[in-house]
Assembly symmetry: C2
Homo-oligomer: 232 residues x 2
Amino acid sequence: MIDRNGAGRHPGSVRGSLPLVSAFAVADLLGLVAFGELLAFERMAGDARLAPDLRRRAALNEMAAAEIANYRRLADRLTALGVPPEDAMAPYVEPVQAYHDSTEPRDWAEVVTKAYVGDAITDDFVREIADTLDEPDRGLVLDVLHDSRYADFAAAEIRLAVADDPRVAGRLSMWARRLVGEALSQAGRVAAERATLTALIARDGRVDVVPGLFGRLTTAHTARMAAAGLNN
Amino acid sequence: MIDRNGAGRHPGSVRGSLPLVSAFAVADLLGLVAFGELLAFERMAGDARLAPDLRRRAALNEMAAAEIANYRRLADRLTALGVPPEDAMAPYVEPVQAYHDSTEPRDWAEVVTKAYVGDAITDDFVREIADTLDEPDRGLVLDVLHDSRYADFAAAEIRLAVADDPRVAGRLSMWARRLVGEALSQAGRVAAERATLTALIARDGRVDVVPGLFGRLTTAHTARMAAAGLNN
């Protein structure tokens, strides 16, 4: 039975401090972020072969490995919530895979741009949804934000590529727009299919919350592109 | 100038406690193990897509990520020895890559068998060479031995695959022999080309040390195959 009266709202209880309906939504959300981390890990590790030298190849692999530590924390929390991580992740396999399949980088500049854009958009999304969560889930998702030294590495690589050949800026700007477009397209699909997830994000009852969220993510992305020397 | 008189044999000095000629050999060795870890990481992460479910996919990815932590420790030690990790790894890119290119797994059973065999042979090799090192390198390489829970996971998966279809045992036994054959073939190439490395392993002056080492690695491999329910 779904408990709408807040019974079980005892901090420290196994299900955390949320009523059961929200616990399902939280599991949905943690499952999305967890699978996102898992696939980001695999794809970045796969992209490392495009690195121009071993130093950069190792750096991207270390950036990838950081995703797995985050995955483990989210999976452990799901287990504590009584939800097998693979069940929570299952609904997201297809859209997340579709995003990566449609954004296969062709060279190192595209690899680092994808890592930069992907990590940042994920972080923005996580920060947005953290506000809708109670502890300990709020603290957990804020803890899986990416280490800024990886973003610094990626941004520096983008600037280097552009300095090396100014025409690259146009190509990477277009590539970044495509990355965001594909990500939002898959996110829209997820939002349409996962009512519990959308309900969690729209906890304050505003039905227009998803377009608003997407708008904020896009605005932040534009500012970030400029910081890396790219146009939007 | 190469220092053959043992000057600089002060524990705690930047180059460790080895004379300079050995410091080069140690860098050679750490470079080999470091690049082995880096490529094992990439390939395992790439193989994860062959997992039959998300639980196993995540487990292989976590097994892969453990390699990167080891890589980092070896790279830090190389830096402390004054050798850029990418320089120490460069001579091994081709043979290690050739090993992986010639042993591309076709299904999950081959993936876990490769991870099982590869990690174990690496560990045996590392244990053998640890004896030839002084501290702190001896302790460091012994510390990068693989966590046995990953071997347990891989062995359990192999046994499951065999239990599911007994004919798989023959195929995996043959696959494991091929893995060892390809690994020793590339290792022989490395030994022939890297005199400093062979000299380190043969520190006691025995010229037949490489065949002896290979023999011991093969014997240990045979015992391990039996433990996982495979024939040699």
